[in-house]
């Protein structure tokens, strides 16, 4: 997964570069169209249109049957059973493209989420920067802490453009160290987090443009890389579990509706697919 993400990150940076200065809805619309087309193509390639159509027809027949024979409870109940059976068959006939879409689209959607899902920090913003350690961080680092109280010797290396607004606060029960950080200048900054001999870098975006933003850099793991692909993982033997900060969430305007981009993406890609299924000759 790490290798795939390593390839996808620059690819999506490149693909989305033309949209950086534009409202997010522009990119969302274009990618909805592309995903709609690809999805239709997948359905065309991997499903049986006759069976899909037959299932749809039977469902429609069942609905009309309820209307037609509305004096006959027996027929109504049978029709309901038939509808549910054929709807299950319909979903079943689309299972292969369904699975393929999950496999193909989830990593791609995850990439898009870190471009369109968050807003960058603005100059003057303060944000809580947190480092969470593993449960066994002491064993991994060989540190007992000062005065018998366990406390990691975590240090930050701040670039120009970022500064600390307060000393760190250590929460022993959470194994979490937190700093109040201030954004002084725009840019994609790299903060060094040093624990013992190891140093990890966390990117922080101070920008008002649509760019890749990573709220968390996580320990190694398939799921972590699948869902948080915006930065490489921390490494399997790292004593740090997570380095993160909270970016404000970005909503997009869709006509008179302000909502999460994924909702707009879902609606638009379904609409595009609906429009294009005829010309593409796809039964869905």
């Amino acid at each position: 997964m790490s290798a795939i993400n390593a390839a996808l990150r620059p690819l999506f940076d490149l693909l989305l570069a033309p949209f950086r200065g534009m409202p997010a809805i522009v990119g969302v619309t274009l990618f909805s169209l592309i995903f709609g087309v690809v999805a239709l193509w997948l359905v065309k390639l991997t499903s049986n249109p006759e069976k899909v159509d037959a299932a749809k027809r039977k469902v429609a027949a069942g609905l009309l049957e309820i209307r037609l024979f509305n004096d006959n409870l027996g027929i109504i109940f049978k029709a309901v059973g038939s509808i549910l059976r054929h709807q299950a068959a319909y979903v079943g006939h689309l299972l292969v493209p369904f699975v393929l879409m999950v496999l193909l689209f989830l990593p791609l959607i995850a990439q898009l989420q870190f471009h369109w899902g968050y807003q960058g920090l603005q100059e003057g913003d303060s944000v809580l920067f947190k480092v969470v350690l593993q449960d066994d961080w002491q064993t991994r680092t060989g540190s007992d802490g000062a005065d018998g109280v366990p406390r990691p010797s975590l240090e930050l290396e701040l670039p120009d453009g970022l500064s600390l607004a307060s000393p760190p606060v250590w929460s022993p029960s959470e194994h979490e160290m937190a700093w109040q950080m201030r954004a002084d200048a725009a840019g994609q900054h790299e903060v060094g987090v040093r624990l013992g001999d190891a140093t990890h870098v966390k990117k922080i975006g101070v920008t008002d443009r649509v760019e890749r933003l990573s709220p968390e850099r996580l320990e190694a793991g398939f799921t972590n890389q699948l869902l948080f692909p915006a930065e490489p993982s921390l490494g399997a033997d790292s004593a740090i579990e997570k380095i993160g900060l909270r970016y404000p969430e970005r909503d997009v305007w869709f006509f008179f509706w302000r909502t999460h981009w994924i909702i707009v993406f879902l609606v638009l890609s379904i609409l595009f697919a609906l429009i294009l299924r005829g010309p593409m000759g796809v039964t869905i």
Binding site: A61, L68, N70, D71, N72, I76, Q113, I284
Partner: protein, 703 residues
Amino acid sequence: MVALALGAVAPAGAYIGPGAGFALVSSFAVIFVTAILAFIFILIWPFRTFWRILRHRKKPKPLVKRLIVVGLDGQDPLLTDRFMQEGKLPNFEKLAQQGSYKRLRTTFPSVSPVAWSSFSTGTHPAKHNIYDFLDRDRKTYLPILSSTRIGSVEKHLKFGKYQIPLHKPELRLMRKSKPFWTILGEHNIWSTVLRVPITFPPDKFYGAQLSAMCVPDLLGSQGTFLLYTTRPAGERFKEGGLRIGLSTSNGTPDSFESAIEGPENPFLQDASAMTIPMQIELDRAAGRARVTLNGDVVELETGKLSDWVKLSFSAGPGVKPSGMTRMLITEMGEHFSLYLTPISIDPENPAMPISHPSYFATYLAKKIGPYSTLGLAEDTWALNEGITDDGVFLEQTYDIDREREEMFFASMEKLKQGSLVCVFDATDRIQHMFWRYLEDGHPAARGIDSPEHANAIEKLYEHNDALVGRVMDKLRDGDVLLVLSDHGFASFRRGVNLNSWLHANGYLTLKEGADGADEWLTQVDWSRTKAYALGLTGMFLNIKGREAQGTVEPGEEADALKAELIERLSGLTDEEAGEVGITEVFDTHKLYGGPYIGNAPDLLIGYKRGYRTSWDCATGVVAGPVFEDNVKAWSGDHCVDPRQVPGVIFSSHAIDSDDPALMDIAPTALRLFGVEPPAHMEGVPIFEQSSFGGAAATKEEAQ
């Protein structure tokens, strides 16, 4: 609904693409709609039931639970007897032994639209107003459909070359009197009526109905086939076909561009036709063609009839009248020809009201798949014109029969109580087209040695027998099954041109210099004409005050003329064949009476078996001989003296009537459900009430 579904989707990570999105959203939608519909109908069911009980406090006491009527249009008693004696119809035999088998008197005339109208209303034509396929316009003397008036839109809102129709065109069923399913419905008894002739536009009653005979194709005609061909234009088709020349495109002999012409665009003032561009690419070596329509590709193989191909025309945004056709490459040698069946109205999205309720046609299409909706669905004209062959015609006919059977059994399964009537047309169509092989020396079989489908009619009767067997297997306790035909069948060897006879004998006069070769009596000098023949069995007097240019005074003069014509035409001899061509001519006013007798032909011609109105006479041509050989594939007919072509009736319950008639079925249906037949019905029930012993027939009786 979509919003509801979206609300259930957690934004990040939950989305997996439009395909899955469709499945997810539509599944939510379907389950939601199903639940709501079921909930609503279950909720209101007690109230509806209570309301029905309240409205029909005098509930009739039915003798049966279900009445199943299978109509086999044109099944002939003589052939039925013959095949039964040969042991080829075991299920008919079984049904006859368990109940009854009798001749069924048909109507005057013995023509399907008349006969089935009497079947459904229990009356003579003078009360239901249908006398033939065709009637005449009294002003112009031109033929019009007798059963349906399809009007045009008179008021429009006009913008430049565009217009918006301000009302729907008039669409009226001309059949009068109430059919028995309407009366049953008034007593809260459900009926499903499938493809019974003369039900377009459909009746509105408590039940469901799919229209039949006289439902037009998408072009508004009664069935216009299309032939795209590279052959040079020849004579135009006389019966319901259009020839469209093909010319090559792209400079290659294997590529053609043309268009399928649909109905007129109602939004254009010039009423130009909507079209679908059609590209044809031939692979001559493989004998195949690729036809592209609106981006959809249809692969065709020479001699093989395609499945239904949907044709969606565009009249404007969101207005897309939709039809269906089947395609066949009839030749791919020096010349290429592509045949298209008449464009049926798409039942899934009907452009005209072809069912009651309106969504019943859609329901059937969803249930069983696409099916032919055209009134006369089997393309007899294409076979008559030699465009298709016997094999293709049989394939088409049996495919339509299969569609019918599927909708019949689907409806039978849903019928808990009430009546189900379905008419199967294959018997009529196949006998019309294959009678020439049934007897020696038929003029239409000249030059055809050892035809491949010589026993098509025998196979047809066996096919019907198998159908009856399947129906009997599905009967339940309390069912009565009637299998019947509207008339029998006879040979059609010789055609009689009565207009030619009238002309030769001074009753019909042509305009100066006219030769009478033009169709639809357009060369007749009406001011000097006393009588004319129109339709398949009728003859009209040119009555003053009735016809626009009438010459015969009503009353004594008309009666005298009628008597004279009856005397001269009854027993009219075909000198060439040495046979009598007309057994008797009937005065309709003496046959029956009723409020619509004024619309009846004045005389009905009772042809002898073997004779019928000639093709020329049927199309209003005066020229030519009075008697001539019929050499068309349409070689059997029933438009003869009705006494010579009774139908058949098989019943799972013993018939009490000695001489049952088709007209008796409507009052019988009412009686079976405990409804007293209304006084205006002339038919009488064929079962005695006492024969049911107060209880319905059991399945054991029927088995």
